[in-house]
Amino acid sequence: MLKNINESTNTLEEYGYACGRIRDLEKYLLNKEIIHKMIESQDLEKSLRVLAENNLSEYSFEKLDSSSIDQVLVNISKRNLNLISEISPYPYLFQLFSWKHDFHNIKVLLKAKMLGKKELFPLYDLGNLSLNGLHAAVFEGKYQLIPIKIKRFIKQAEEGYLKYDSLQLMEVSIDKGYYETIFEQLEDINQDFLFYYYKTEVDLLNLIITCRCKIREIHKSKLAEILIKYGQLSTQKLIDIYDNPLHSWSNNFQKSDYFMVIEQGIKHWIEKNSLLKFEQMIDNYLLNLLKIGKYTTFGLECVIGYYYAKENDLKNIRIIINGKKNSLSDIMIKKYIRDTYV
């Protein structure tokens, strides 16, 4: 966490207002105590009551069926994003965080088009681009309402699908488009911390993608196409070790910051044949990186930290709700719960 402190940290006074507000909002983030209390409650209803008892009125669930719970959580996520746009002095953070939803929508629309489905699709209406514009672009070929860059991604993805008949590769191509967009914008913003964060995210993603390719039995030659290029870790290194036995993987990263993540993740993968631990380690690593936001008074670290902390909270709540609903044991839930920000 302390690695990314440099002379430009804590100098952006225009974030003073945002940080002041966030300092107060941080009180309403989940802490370990609340999470443990929630896990230890007998059933779903009681564990949701713990939220209300701790003044977290934001999480009010009227009905307990999965779609209305999901709706509540999606709404909180929406509010979180809106808060970012409200408090930050420049719109770029909001845009950065919104691209994710845009690209999700593009994926869903493209998949629907390719398989000729006409039902209601699970879309998010919180992207940078209007849903109508995307709809027109994907289904009718009218690209007036969307940027040229996005048009290129859509075209590429469509061509890729027609060539290989694989939705997987189509999505991979859109995912790469997502990171291209992000890093293009990061160049414009030119903030060290954002670069650092997104590069770390890409590195960790590349690691997990390599593992997933292994599970999906994708050939080594295709890996170069799938990996995302913007990270600090060289993708060539990952391609080189791809065919090596699993237990030797972590040796190649002994000097890297991600050694702990890789070592434990791979170990768990070999022992339990599951990537859950790896996923959890990655989430925790990123969250830990963001914790610097708690200590900055003037800087976007604070805003970014809060945004992701809230998303992390939603993830934890989802884990608890899903776990309680399917009556997983407390120990099981505790094993897979993510770290907390505060």
Binding site: S66, K111, L167, Q168, L276, E279, I319, N322, G323, R338
Partner: protein, 206 residues
């Protein structure tokens, strides 16, 4: 029960032949029944084994799937699973167990299993989905065994009824009738004997 036949030698001969046939059929059917039951028991045991394996595996897989999707919302899940590219086909063939036609199913799967990208989806989902592949063949196997057991049960029932009919109705009836005819014939022979003796007596007396 004595069959409604004329008690003469002709009928006796016929009945004796029928009895012999019935006995032979009885033995054959009994053998068939025993063999069927043996087969049936084997199938039941196999069914039990497969079912237990299925139970265990489906529980494991469901748990794994649950854990894999534990932090994903309904929306995200829908956007992954609404668009499948995998096609599963089942082909039926028939095989013969003791003249019972039993179906054999063959499963073929083609198309992409993974239809989603690698960001924003849980990595464990890949693992879980891949492991789920072993469930469908097990289910098909279970259906196959179930059907075979049902068909065999019907056949066993039928055979058993036939065996019983032979054992408790047909054969005793035939035996009774034969006994009756034999007795009748003996009676007739005796009565004609005594008549002859009396006639002889009468002739000697004159």
């Amino acid at each position: 029960m004595i069959l409604a036949v004329n008690p003469n030698r002709m009928e006796l001969l016929k009945l004796k032949r029928r009895l012999e046939l019935a006995n032979r059929g009885y033995k054959l059917l009994k053998d068939k029944r025993d063999a069927l039951i043996q087969k049936f028991i084997k199938l039941v045991y196999e069914n039990k084994r497969v079912r237990e394996e299925f139970d265990r595996k489906i529980r494991e897989r469901t748990n794994e799937f649950l854990l894999a999707t534990i932090c994903m919302g309904e929306n995200d899940l829908n956007s992954i699973f609404m668009f499948p590219q995998r096609l599963t086909k089942v082909k039926t063939e028939y095989s013969n167990i003791m003249s019972v036609k039993v179906p054999k199913y063959q499963i073929t799967e083609k198309g992409n299993l993974f239809t989603y990208g690698m960001i924003d989806t849980s990595p464990e989902l890949d693992n879980s989905l891949k492991k789920y592949q072993e469930i469908a063949p097990l289910m098909i196997k279970m259906a196959e065994l179930d059907k075979a057991i049902v068909l065999l049960t019907e056949e066993i029932e039928k055979t058993r009824r036939r065996v019983n009919a032979l054992e408790y109705v047909m054969i005793p009836n035939l035996e009774d009738t034969i006994k009756f005819i034999t007795m009748k014939l003996d009676e007739m022979a005796r009565s004609s004997n005594s008549a002859i003796m009396r006639i002889k007596e009468m002739i000697r007396g004159e």
